[in-house]
Symmetry: none
Subunit: 200 residues, 2 copies
Amino acid sequence: MRTYMLTEREQDTLSFIAGYYTKQRKAPLLTEIAQGLGIQSKGVVHRYVSALEDKGYIVRNPKTRGIELVDHPDLDILPLLGRIAAGKPIEVIEDKSQINFAHLLGGANRYVLEIKGHSMIEEGIRNGDLVVIEHASTARSNQIVVALIDGEDATLKRIQFPKKELVRLVPANKTMQAKEYPAHRVMIQGVLVGQVRMYD
Amino acid sequence: MRTYMLTEREQDTLSFIAGYYTKQRKAPLLTEIAQGLGIQSKGVVHRYVSALEDKGYIVRNPKTRGIELVDHPDLDILPLLGRIAAGKPIEVIEDKSQINFAHLLGGANRYVLEIKGHSMIEEGIRNGDLVVIEHASTARSNQIVVALIDGEDATLKRIQFPKKELVRLVPANKTMQAKEYPAHRVMIQGVLVGQVRMYD
DNA sequence: ATGTAGGTTCTCTCTATGTTCTCATTCAAG
DNA sequence: CTTGAATGAGAACATAGAGAGAACCTACAT
């Protein structure tokens, strides 16, 4: 069904092109792709590039460095280029890592909640952020969980177990207090596994 | 009447394929299925896979990794259940939205950087977070950008244009100072469009 | 006009993977 | 006991994926 499926080496080729493009600000030559992928023959690379064009991931102009990336619904991998720190050059990561966020965050027992309010602000979780929750009824101490208190109030807090049969829920906001409850009043609904924020 | 009942091993095979899909985001090889089920012969696996196809649980392309689950529940998509706020029940969102983070964050001219350090801590961007950058050479005031100063130091900062030909880069950390530069010394490399954090 | 760089089009090859068989073993139903 | 279904091993074959490299085309600089 999905004719847009890429073979392994086609994927590699696409990743290399994307990485090269973001780093060098221009499209690579066939021979550069070949070198990047460890292929000797530019004819082989040409075949991959043609396949990517057929499948709609790139378009080509009939000239050197004529490859252009196209937004494609199945283009879901991003190159992980490096690490960035204040005042230092970007530290380039050697192995051509790729990131697929759907893969990273997805899963059968997970769902997404949108954060309202500022109770976790000091954890870097802000109003409007999306958090990925994995269904769970138990948690380890210091995990951040969705907890239901007395079957009514759901809240996202860091959880601790100071004593047997006692649960402490800790917000990450100086203006708010941690609260403790008998264990039977607190039901864990899920555990925080990821967080996503979009910027305009 | 054709039976859609699965034998035990057919069931095992289907489970393995589904599980493999969830984890690897691609179809398994026959030999991988064989290994997963403790079977020596890929011919046997082929028989199970063919049975699953006959019974309508999968379809196959005549290619390697050509198995596709029929009920194609795109595993990349997570349900957006609602909003959560401190001390209030989860506010259920009516139009049960679905989120595909790869599509939300992906794009042809984007790449990922890993954050080192704490210069954006007050924006909720922390050490170890992944940020998605869209390639750009200009930015609007107050956007967060990857900026290169004097062609050397790359840094992630909020950008402002206090005066013509003047650029101010503002960290989000009280212990650090905003700095101003003549516009020609600052090259914008990209604009922050997303941020992702993983929790254990 | 000639050389060079880069892109295009071929054919040939090798291997991993998928397909199609036959045969063997076990077990439950009749 | 016989039968048939479910399961497994493995041989033999077919084909897709992948790579090498030759030959050719085109643009362009000298």
